[in-house]
Each structure stands twice: as structure tokens, then as C-alpha cells.
């Protein structure tokens, strides 16, 4: 029979934090439990930079993030415009293609009297037969 090992609860000390730390915690968007605080302290011990240097880096990255976010928004708007133009064109083509295809079937049933008309008619019939196989592929 398996025995379930229960971890002994870790002893913790409660400390009040100042507004600055409180604000930073809010921005982390993670659950700040004793384990996470321990990791933060260990991380703090490893870092050679000063607080000012770290804050400078945070501020630079936040600025870069804002610039990138606005660039992304601009490109997304541009892409949406181009995509809608592309989709609109495809719909127009699809409609005119079907109209032409139907009319080409009517052409098949007719035989223009002049040579030029017959050649034109034959080339259009051929063209729309090929289009129907390959246009959207």
C-alpha cells in the first residue's frame, strides 16, 4: 500500500511591504506566495546590478514595449485594409468568372458566322475551360 508523504508546512514570517513593492507586485500578475517570495529573494541575491540600473532597464523595456505595441497596431490596421481589398477583388473575380463561364457555355452552342468571331469564340471557350481548372489553385 502506498503511503502518501505529506510535506511539512513551511514556517513563514509576515512582513508589510511598502507602496513601491506593492505596485511592482501588482504588475507581475502572478500569485505571490512564500515559494515565489523565496525565489525573488534568491534572484535578488544573484543580481549584481543596482536598483537604479534595474529600474532604468525596466523603464527602457516598457518604452520599447509601448513603441512595438503601437507599431503592431499600425501594421495590423494596414494588413486589415489590404486583406479586405484582396477579399473584395477575389469576390468580384469569382462573380465575373461565373458570369463569363455561363456565357461561354452559350457561346459553345453558337457558331459565329465570321472567321474572326469563330477564332475568338474558340479561344475564350478554351481559356475558361482552363481557368475553371486552375484559377484558384
Amino acid at each position: 500500500m502506498k503511503t502518501k508523504l505529506q510535506r511539512k508546512p513551511q514556517k513563514v514570517t509576515l512582513i508589510n511591504v511598502n507602496r513601491e513593492i506593492s505596485e511592482l507586485i501588482k504588475r507581475t500578475n502572478v500569485q505571490v506566495n512564500a515559494g515565489f517570495v523565496q525565489k525573488l529573494i534568491e534572484l535578488g541575491m544573484k543580481i549584481d546590478c543596482t536598483e537604479e540600473q534595474l529600474m532604468q532597464k525596466v523603464s527602457e523595456l516598457e518604452e520599447r514595449k509601448n513603441i512595438l505595441a503601437s507599431e503592431l497596431k499600425e501594421i495590423a490596421t494596414q494588413l486589415t485594409y489590404l486583406q479586405s481589398k484582396y477579399v473584395g477583388l477575389r469576390m468580384q473575380i469569382s462573380k465575373i468568372f461565373h458570369d463569363n463561364q455561363v456565357q461561354v457555355f452559350h457561346l459553345c452552342a453558337r457558331q459565329p458566322s465570321d472567321k474572326h468571331g469563330r477564332l475568338l469564340s474558340a479561344s475564350l471557350i478554351q481559356k475558361y475551360l482552363e481557368y475553371s481548372k486552375s484559377l484558384w489553385h
Partner: protein, 95 residues
């Protein structure tokens, strides 16, 4: 009235708290840890944004060529439509 900042408390493993010795050092280490963590998150976020921008730029660069191709096809089909209609139009019989 107690402010929200005053109300926020953190749980610190006691053995770690005792090892460090004083609250001020603990607070400084937590702050440095939080700043490093924030840097890490921001680096990931900016990297993801840059990647997204790169991907969107690819599509933005490809689409004008595709639009041009579609416009050419559409114009050609419109011309075909005119020709087909002319060919289908019944010719006037001279009396």
C-alpha cells in the same frame, strides 16, 4: 483608514528571513528580485511583439503583389465579358 499598500503583506520563509537577519535587506532583495522578474517578463513580451510584427510585415509585403495579380485577372475578365457579350449579341439582319 488603512491604505491598501499598508495592508499588503508577504509571507517569507522564516529560515530565509532569519538567515538574512533584517527586514530592510529582505525588502531590498525582494525589490531587486521583482525588478529582475519584471525585466524578464518585459523581455519576453517585447520579443513576442517583435515576432508578431515580423510575421505581419511579411503578409503586408506579400499582399500588394497578390492584389496587383487579382486586379490584372479582373481587368482581363471584364474585357472578356465585353467580348463575349458582343459575340452573343444577335446580329442585325439587313433587309
Amino acid at each position: 483608514m488603512v491604505s491598501e499598500a499598508k495592508k499588503l503583506q508577504l509571507q517569507i520563509p522564516t529560515h530565509l528571513y532569519e538567515k538574512i537577519g533584517n527586514q530592510e535587506t529582505v525588502m531590498n532583495l525582494i525589490k531587486k528580485g521583482l525588478l529582475s522578474f519584471r525585466i524578464h517578463v518585459l523581455e519576453q513580451e517585447t520579443h513576442a511583439l517583435a515576432k508578431q510584427i515580423e510575421n505581419l510585415k511579411k503578409s503586408v509585403n506579400e499582399l500588394p503583389g497578390e492584389i496587383k495579380r487579382m486586379e490584372t485577372i479582373l481587368n482581363e475578365m471584364l474585357k472578356d465579358n465585353e467580348i463575349i457579350e458582343t459575340l452573343l449579341r444577335p446580329k442585325k439582319v439587313k433587309l
